[in-house]
């Protein structure tokens, strides 16, 4: 608290990102990073980059990257927005679309940054509980509203909703913006991007941080009809004209170009996820059905907080949330096969498992 702060920020509770440890040798399964390096073309782009170009501003409109993303989905560049990670895309989308007189509808348990934006922008919200199996049922999202946002697959549960349910929601909810946050969609869920041309109020956000192994480069993006994208551009250009530096733009294009490598990495992570799920289940864990690069699991005999500390003591980082309802779960990122084997071996050695 400070007399110099704006009144609106005195009570802000910022988002807490997962720990980025400064010590080496940890098995880091706490921030849903990809265990594989980015596509070889990214290394090539960086190694051959002429630093003299950095004296100039980057393209503020990221035209080449937008074109690549549009082509990838059979859309037009005017239907693509790019930002500094999907968090920035979401922050700008909250400003552009969700500051309305009616309340925003969102899941009671989802990506916790949504609630930070709700506070930051003074948005009224109605939180809709998950079902007992931790699933989202979009039929629950009814009534007049100033927007709807959910993650698909949801975080931290990992559970996805089928495209047919999203389609039904969009047919019913035509007067406010529906944001589908697809940060993890490439690990097995169905993308709503296929519905962008049909629904003018649909915005789909995605990121290069997870499935493209570019968390260190900060590139997120969104697909939507031109009118929505224009709204995002207006807010972005009223906040920061150039959020993506030259190398971020070039790296994302290089990652996008290598579809073969991308598919291999995603398939490997899916296979390792399925193996991990089987192993955890054999150890007595309840593991939610995941379409992401993490699993959300609890054990009937040992509390989540205790397991997290036990793993940490054994140099394995996983994420634990203290929020009621999910405070007995661990969110475990899918790493390499070797890393997951180490996780399972470590858990097997726990005296109560």
């Amino acid at each position: 608290m400070s007399k110099f702060w704006s009144p609106a920020i005195q009570s802000l509770v910022p988002y807490t990102p997962g720990e980025q440890p400064k010590i080496d040798g940890l098995i880091k399964l706490n921030t849903n990073e990809n265990p594989y390096p980015p596509a070889p073309g990214v290394q090539q782009v960086i190694a051959t980059f002429d630093a003299e170009r950095l004296r100039l501003y980057p393209d503020p409109d990221c035209q080449a990257l937008k074109q690549a993303l549009a082509t990838d989905q059979g859309l037009q560049p005017e239907q693509v927005f790019v930002g500094n990670g999907s968090d920035e895309v979401l922050a700008l989308a909250f400003m552009a679309f969700l500051r309305q007189s009616q309340p925003l509808l969102l899941p009671q348990t989802s990506y916790s940054f949504y609630n930070v934006y709700i506070d930051l922008f003074g948005i009224e919200a109605r939180h809709i509980p998950l079902h007992a199996d931790f699933s989202i049922n979009l039929d629950d999202y009814q009534g007049s509203n100033g927007g709807i946002i959910f993650a698909n697959p949801n975080a931290p549960t990992g559970i996805s909703v089928p495209l047919s349910e999203i389609h039904r929601l969009l047919e019913r909810n035509t007067e406010s913006v529906v944001i589908v946050d697809e940060a993890y969609v490439d690990f097995g869920a169905e993308s709503a991007t296929a519905l962008v041309s049909e629904f003018p109020n649909l915005l789909v956000t995605q990121t290069f941080s997870k499935s493209h192994s570019l968390a260190g480069m900060r590139v997120g993006f969104a697909y939507g009809q031109a009118e929505l994208i224009d709204g995002l551009e207006r807010v972005k250009n009223s906040f920061n004209s150039y959020p993506l530096d030259m190398l971020a733009q070039l790296s994302a294009i290089a990652a996008l170009e290598d579809q073969t490598y991308f598919n291999q990495c995603c398939q490997q992570i899916i296979a390792t996820r399925d193996w991990t799920t089987t192993q955890l289940t054999a150890l007595g864990f309840d593991v939610l059905p995941s379409h992401t690069n993490f699993v959300f699991a609890s054990h009937p005999k040992v509390a989540g907080a205790e397991l997290m500390q036990y793993l940490r003591d054994n140099r394995i980082l996983v994420r634990h949330f203290t929020k009621p309802g999910i405070d007995n779960h661990l969110r475990i990122t899918i790493g390499t096969e070797t890393q997951m084997q180490a996780l399972i071996d470590c858990l097997r050695n726990h005296p109560s498992l």
Copy 2:
């Protein structure tokens, strides 16, 4: 306009950055970029970067960069904030400090992004005219207010105010935040960073884009006492946790380390600016006294808009603003000696000069 946009953005007029031309061979003196490449260490950092690291998130707190910036000024890391260019730092500072019940005081003519932030965040503002010689007199900034912001040197005039005047302002104005935007300070003005330890309400913003030739990398920063920096961190961490990618952080550190190169570039630009001023004056221009890497000049015989178009037709880009009071001026970035010689030669060939 769209029914899906938040009401608050329907009337937004975004900032218009200077043109980034897609054609080669232009002499680009329109966006105040440095004509010299970044320090050799930057090329080294990029060329040797292991792209595999990009699968991980960058340090959200940018600790190494903050330490380097703190050391550079004899401050503590808690007195340093870094952001994605100084525009993002300014946007976050407007959110953190300037959304107050009292009006913000700022120059009538200054960096035009300030007015975009005022609109975006719904801030009441009192614009204080420049004097007839285009100078800011801080003694005009009186009365109760919710903050004061000005650029020093001012843009697009290039004129600076002495540190003693800023000191006097801070002694008088103790109840609201004073932001001194020093994007151009390294080209000959006095930085208010020296006053940070004395005044808890002073925030000084700077950038790597101009004097460090890193416009393409997007790194800005601010100095202030820990309580102000903490306010900025809260807003930043409620908006986007990781706005600086790994290479941006490393490049800025490398640029900062090479003080010899930095001083050489700044001195060369100052020398070229003085030469350009002499030449323009000889051609009949009125040139304002600049402490920046640009000059702001008008000619009594030929309108600014006409001169801009004439130069553009001759493949030289300069910036012209249509705002009343400065619409007869050109803002001309200081390039290399060769580029400025070409500018002067071109103007000499104008039929009316």
